[in-house]
Amino acid sequence: MHPILDLRHRPAAALVGLALVAIVLVVLPFVLTGIGTFWVRITNLAILFCLLALGLNIVVGFAGLLDLGYIAFYAVGAYTYALLASPHFGLHLPFWVILPIGAAVACFFGVILGAPTLKLRGDYLAIVTLGFGEIIRIFLNNLAQPVNITNGPQGIARIDPFRIGDLSFSTTDSIAGLTFTGPMKYYYLLLVVLIAVIAINLRLQDSRIGRAWEAIREDEVAARAMGINTRNMKLLAFAMGASFGGISGGMFSAIQGFISPESFVLVESIMVLSMVVLGGMGNIWGVVIGAVLLSFAPEILRYTVEPAQRMMFGRTLLDPEVIRMLLFGLALVLMMLFRPAGILPSALRKRELETRRSAG
């Protein structure tokens, strides 16, 4: 927990801090809608990436297993949702039924991929997961023949939005005199989920299971000698990460209303990995910050780099998308070379460790 939010030692300061953060988070969508609904959508995507990054953080950050095909689990969750809640098969199950199914399916894939490969050295796992990501994408692209399951490269459209009773998340409603657009509703839902996922991550990290993961990450041989069943623990991390990916994928499906294999390419896996690395592997708040920064990066670049180029050269030489990818690459290289512990200052991390202990 961030020292400012340390409830035990500085209760007053912590409460004021929390209240301020809460107010900002609640008011944010209204402010953003004022600028343009587009920005609420971008924020929603950023929160989705936070969820993904936190899921991958369990695998990479806690347990030290490099999963380069993480987006495949996101894809599995997304397609599970799309197939069970769209006109494609004419099925329209409610989201609270599908999301757990999506998590379970993704978890199942995680286990069948992890069980045979987790005994291998870490870099092999990286390659195998990379291959797995590609296999899933190839299947999504081709499973339109002979029976049309995924609708191939065209993807699946008109996916149902979330619905709770009469409240649909895709329409604009007036509640208590305030206008809530679809994206705003999703924003609040995503925020709740994000807070829950952060809480789960924090609790996992500071638990018997979390310590076992971190022990495996630090020294697998020693972890085994201390009585940790490393194979099962790694599988657990893998399966949990996959489930989080599956749930995020389902929400992505509902929010976008349309998915196609193109949303689940390798670059997306790398992007999520960059977020985890940038924030400092295993550092939950760092990962959230990393995910927010990198999610907004393309928009920020669009509004800064492009006009700057036009001013200097009279035209756009470098597409912001390309610059963004170069930045991702650079982030990975520079972070590993100079700041493997992440962007958060190391003093903070150290203090975090101390407060956690003296509070406990």
Binding site: I200, R203, L204, S207, R208, I209, G210, R211, A212, E214, A215, E218, D219, V221, A222, A223, R224, A225, M226, G227, I228, N229, T230, L236, M240, L353, E354, R357, S358, G360
Partner: protein, 264 residues
């Protein structure tokens, strides 16, 4: 001091790596409550014996009987669960975890909380967690590292790292504590306090198997000593007797280490 009951008995243990016979037909027994030394020149097969005992390698032949049951074929984590904990010759701590967390990891095998407990933090999990932390702090106190409980393991001084590794092993509630050269790289003062610690551990009921090159320490703490040379058992018996054994003297004098046989 040493009880008569057998804790560990090894029968005809053999291990070959390619063309090298690292261990051949090694047999010995460790009694409940004793400190049992394992010495021999470099490359004699001491660490290999540790690795075979703790399930890191599978022996080519022979059996271990520990606390009434067979050990061979168990995975390292199962060996730990049965009650054998070890340290490593080249310290293997969890470098980026705090000293306290290192010891808490050692409690893993004696605790139960799973994912749901971790997320829900029910009463049972909270109690267990508090117990883990209390026990870990006690153990840090016991080995004398309590003052640095919140430091990352990698930032501790060398002597503290060695002791922390012992605390982590003790956290698994071992019946047999296997120490691989715990005094390596320590100065005389550090070694003396390590010696005191070993006496304490034995007094508190844990049997110790000790690989050590520091003969003064071995003679000072070990009830009995097993001497290996080229993977074979060349002598076994009380420390005072072994140091007079001609085979041992020739192994050491022929080897690279000159042994101060007058020792302790």
């Amino acid at each position: 001091m040493a009880g008569q009951a057998t804790l560990l008995s090894a029968q005809g243990i053999g291990k070959r790596f390619g063309g090298v016979q690292a261990l051949s037909d090694v047999s010995f027994t460790i009694r409940q409550g004793e400190i049992y030394g394992l010495i021999g020149p470099n490359g004699a097969g001491k660490t290999t014996l540790f690795n075979v005992l703790t399930g890191i390698y599978e022996p080519d032949g022979g059996t271990f009987t520990f606390d009434g049951g067979a050990l061979v074929g168990l995975k390292p984590h199962q060996v730990a669960e049965r009650g054998i904990a070890r340290t490593f010759q080249n310290i293997r701590l969890f470098a980026n975890l705090s000293a306290l967390e290192n010891v808490m990891v050692g409690r893993h095998v004696r605790t139960r909380a799973g994912v749901w407990g971790a997320i829900a933090r029910d009463r049972k999990t909270r109690d267990e967690e508090a117990g883990i932390e209390r026990r870990a702090l006690d153990l840090l106190e016991y080995v004398g590292v309590a003052s640095r409980a919140n430091d990352l393991a990698k930032n501790l001084p060398y002597g503290f790292q060695r002791r922390l590794e012992i605390a982590r092993a003790l956290a698994t509630d071992p019946k047999l504590l296997a120490l691989d050269e715990p005094a390596a790289g320590m100065n005389a003062t550090e070694t003396a306090s390590l010696e005191a610690l070993l006496h304490d551990i034995r007094r508190d009921g844990t049997t110790i198997l000790l690989i050590e090159h520091d003969m003064k320490l071995v003679m000072g703490v070990c009830d009995r000593v097993l001497v290996l040379d080229y993977g074979r058992r060349i002598a076994e018996g009380p420390a005072a007797q072994v140091q007079k054994d001609p085979a041992v003297i020739s192994a050491y004098l022929g080897g690279e280490i000159a042994l101060d046989l007058k020792g302790a």
